[in-house]
């Protein structure tokens, strides 16, 4: 089976090369037979990569430890659930997943658009084939998942204990789906640039893909935060690590695109900017993989740690030259149909929203690569950690939160004073009331006060929009309020789904601001001893150590420390934090014991208890106790955000807006310009 997988990988490389060549020839010569061949080569590529993936999965499930990848990431006693996740636990498997998902999405995109966008399709197929060829070539020449060892070990090294968590089963594929689905908008952007068909037609083809990609990235990022929080035991969920930053960068540029594309569809503006954002998002998704695979961030001198890094660097440069080169070539064709008329307009608000998103992306990018720059310029290594990112991004993020409230309500073209008063009177009042209330309860952190006040502003704008929309339907159509609500959302999913996303964003900001009130302490307790920990809300947790027990469980030996918890005298329950010693199939320890956190969560705060260890091998235990306000809001904010994204993504019979449909036809330009 593995030999078949290896052979299919090679065949896929050849088919990919063929597909790339004929696709671009088909686009240039308009030969339908070549176009069909290019399209079919994507489907064949997908089929071959399915076989390759099945072969690797078969090797993982049958414990073929002669294969280096299988021996490195699995063991005989690894639960099947995690054997599945070993598929993408290492570099070689994740490259295969990239290639598989790119060709899967590429095939779907070609099938969905069959018969449409005839001038674009060959170039779309060609671009997808080139991306797939890059990943396949990287596997074949630098990171073959079927590479064999010179001997067959009796058991594998097993999966890293920290990866044996349900969050890790879903978080990486979600991120990969997000990264790879950006390839489809990129392919359409390249196709539009090469073919010169730069009306909004290509935007219609990619609208759902960009939303899907953004949704996958959002879910992947939030799942990663959840995994870090429950598994790593440091009491936080975001550490501004280069790998985290790598996933955040394309999310920021995609978010900018989802806003600015509305201006292009509605007003025919920002065409160059939108193509730039799509190209930039794709490059950032490749950059993220390059960053994590090359080892370039730890030091400039560790660049040669992995030769896969060079493959990614070359591809990154080539894709940047191609993408931005084509944009420069078509620059004169991408003139705006109308021009921005006033600083006080929705267009300007969206423009500033884009500006802040891009500046945040730049700040994250700059902070991530600054250690390399410093070492190159001064020969001095510096660390750029969370204090830097928080210092720079908090004010920018708050500016963005303000625009989240302003953008959707302000009028297109030019807002009158009456419009501003009507739209922003209640939200501003809500903001001031919340700010005053927080000042009255003596909330000391100024950033947090601003965040909650702006959050109230945005929530008020969203509520006002729903109330007015439902009220208008109720009055005009005589519908009952719940019916009016459902129809309001159903008739304009993009707009009202967007509002739900904004609510999710406010929930996330509220949670981030809660970090300002985080408290942590360490205590040593013998069985029966207690410690009191005061919450920022004013109540006191009374924590009593019950003892430490040891037992076998699945593929691990567990040492569990239990505490009874009460709050202001009210018993809340028993919490158990563990040390898990993972074992191989012979029952021998594999790595050092991993820590499992005990978490008690509600909407107000989390009580987060970590069993740090036993004192001199006795039941006397050291605990790290963290009180984390509002963490619940991160997970539920993420859910609300994803729900809003789904509403926006849900297919609707109407399709693009009339204005956008007009712009998809060349004649529409005249109509719009003349209007």
């Amino acid at each position: 089976m593995t030999e078949l997988g290896n052979i299919c990988l090679w065949i896929a490389l050849l088919i990919g090369l063929w597909g790339s060549a004929v696709a671009f020839m088909a686009g240039r010569t308009h030969r339908a037979d070549l176009g069909r061949s290019a399209e079919r080569s994507i489907f064949v590529l997908w089929g071959l990569l399915v076989v390759v993936s099945a072969a690797l999965m078969h090797a993982l499930l049958t414990h073929d430890f002669n294969i280096e990848y299988v021996a490195a990431y699995t063991s005989r006693n690894l639960p099947v659930f995690y054997t599945w996740s070993a598929f993408y636990a290492g570099q070689k498997g994740s490259l295969l997943l990239w290639a598989l998902v790119v060709t899967s999405f590429g095939s779907i995109a070609l099938l969905v658009n069959r018969g449409k966008h005839q001038d674009l399709t060959p170039y779309v197929a060609g671009t997808i084939a080139v991306i797939a060829v890059f990943f396949i070539a990287t596997m074949v020449f630098a990171a073959n998942p079927f590479e064999r060892l010179g001997f067959t070990p009796p058991d594998g090294r097993g999966l890293n204990p920290q990866l044996q968590n349900p969050g890790m089963v879903f978080h990486p594929p979600m991120l990969y789906l997000g990264y790879t689905s950006i390839s489809i908008p990129f392919a359409f952007a390249v196709a539009a640039l090469i073919s010169g068909k730069l009306d909004t037609g290509w935007l219609h083809a990619i609208r759902r893909w960009t939303l899907l990609s953004w949704l996958f990235l959002s879910c992947g990022i939030v799942l990663g935060m959840w995994w870090a929080y429950v598994e790593l035991g440091w009491g936080g969920y975001w550490a501004w690590d280069p790998v985290e930053n790598a996933s955040f960068l394309p999310w920021l540029t995609m978010t900018a695109f989802l806003h600015s594309v509305m201006i292009q569809e509605k007003r025919g503006m920002l065409k160059k900017w939108n193509i730039g954002l799509v190209v930039g998002s794709f490059l950032l998704s490749i950059f993220g993989t390059f960053l994590t695979r090359s080892g370039v961030i730890s030091s400039v001198h560790s660049f040669a740690q992995s030769n896969v890094g060079y493959f990614f660097l070359i591809f990154l440069i080539a894709a940047a030259l191609a993408g931005f080169g084509l944009l420069w070539y078509r620059w004169p064709m991408l003139k705006a149909e109308v021009q921005l008329e006033s600083m006080v307009s929705r267009e300007a608000a969206f423009l500033f929203n884009n500006l802040i998103l891009i500046v945040i992306a730049f700040a994250v990018f700059w902070g991530t690569i600054f250690p390399i720059i410093s070492e190159a310029v001064r020969g001095t290594k510096v660390t750029v950690g969370p204090p830097f990112f928080n210092q720079v991004n908090v004010p920018l993020g708050l500016g963005l939160l303000l625009l989240t409230g302003i953008g959707p309500l302000i009028a297109w073209r030019r807002a009158s004073l009456g419009n501003l008063r009507r739209q922003f009177l209640w939200p501003t009042a809500a903001m001031l009331v919340v700010a005053a209330a927080l000042a009255a309860v003596r909330m000391t952190d100024a950033w947090a006060v601003v965040a909650y006040a702006l959050g109230a502003f945005v929530v008020a704008t969203v509520v006002q929009e729903f109330v007015r929309g439902v009220g208008a339907r109720h009055r005009l159509h005589g519908e009952a309020l719940p019916v009016a609500f459902v129809r309001l959302v159903g008739r304009n999913r993009r707009r009202y789904g967007g509002y739900v996303v904004h609510l999710g964003i406010v929930m996330l900001f509220a949670a981030f601001a809660g970090l300002a009130f985080k408290r942590d302490t360490e205590v040593t307790l013998k069985p029966g001893q207690s410690a009191d920990v005061r919450s920022p809300y004013g109540w006191t947790y009374h924590i009593t150590h019950q003892g430490v027990s040891q037992y076998d469980e699945l593929n691990r030996f567990v040492t569990a420390a239990s505490v009874d918890v009460s709050r202001d005298g009210k018993y809340l329950g028993t919490m158990k934090s563990e040390k898990r010693q993972y074992l191989d199939s012979m029952g021998q320890p594999t790595a050092e014991p991993a820590t499992e956190v005990a978490i008690r969560s509600d909407a107000r705060e989390d009580l987060y208890i970590v069993f740090a260890g036993a004192v001199q091998g006795t039941e006397e235990a050291v605990y790290k106790i963290v009180i984390n306000p509002l963490v619940w809001w991160v997970w539920y904010g993420g859910l609300v955000l994803a729900f809003g994204g789904l509403i926006t993504l849900w297919p609707s019979a109407q399709g693009p807006t009339p204005a956008s449909r007009r712009r998809a036809e060349p004649a529409g330009y005249v109509a719009q310009v003349g209007a």
């Binding site: 423009l351 600054f370 410093s374 208008a472 006795t618």
Partner: protein, 200 residues
């Protein structure tokens, strides 16, 4: 009656299967656990399975000054975490506990917070801090995003002003979602049609 008997039999069978499976799964550590008698002193049967031994926490370990200092200093084990987070998270790390002891020793010797940080910088260089110290070239790290923002704002404002001059002044847009008050039936019909169009 027969149902209860069947359920009892099922329960016995499941328990027996579970026990058999448990015996088969027993690890070497577990066998050690069973071989040892209970210890009245509260000693763990397999102490190494609870990770490295830790020493009891002192008041100094939790001191605000110590925590603040250790949040500023990077652990040199390669984890990218600060000393406090690493020593209270990665219980396999031996570097962060040693650096913690060094912080305590330096404070005990009468050093101020600034002197402790200075001593760490002399020992490890600038990379020991969790963020670049604000001097010289490092200012570029802090200022570049805001310079970018300033340039961006300048560009947008400049462009909008130029465009506004070039385009004829259109009347201000009425509020998008303003409800009509006191409108005639004809106006309401027109509004209804507009709303339909708007929602499409």
């Amino acid at each position: 009656m027969w149902r209860r008997s069947a359920l009892s039999l099922l329960a016995v069978a499941l328990t027996a299967t579970g026990l058999a499976a448990q015996t088969a799964r027993d690890s070497a550590l577990s066998r050690r656990l069973k071989a040892r008698p209970a210890d009245s002193l509260g000693r763990l049967e397999v102490p190494e399975a609870a990770g490295r031994g830790v020493r009891p926490v002192t008041a100094q370990d939790n001191a605000a000054l110590v925590m603040a200092l250790e949040h500023k200093i990077r652990c040199t084990c390669g984890c990218n975490l600060d000393v406090y987070t690493c020593r209270t998270t990665d219980f396999t790390c031996t570097t962060s506990p040693a650096m913690h002891q060094l912080v305590l020793a330096r404070l005990d010797s009468g050093m101020t917070e600034a002197q402790v940080l200075d001593a760490f910088q002399k020992q490890y260089g600038e990379m020991i801090f969790m963020q670049p110290p604000k001097h010289g070239f490092n200012w570029a790290a802090y200022l570049m995003p805001f310079i970018g923002l300033g340039v961006g704002i300048g560009l947008v404002v400049g462009l909008v002003k130029r465009w506004a001059k070039a385009s004829p002044r259109a009347p201000a847009q009425p509020a998008a979602a303003a409800p009509a008050v006191g409108a005639t039936p004809e106006e309401m019909d027109k509004l209804k049609q507009e709303l339909e169009k708007f929602e499409a």
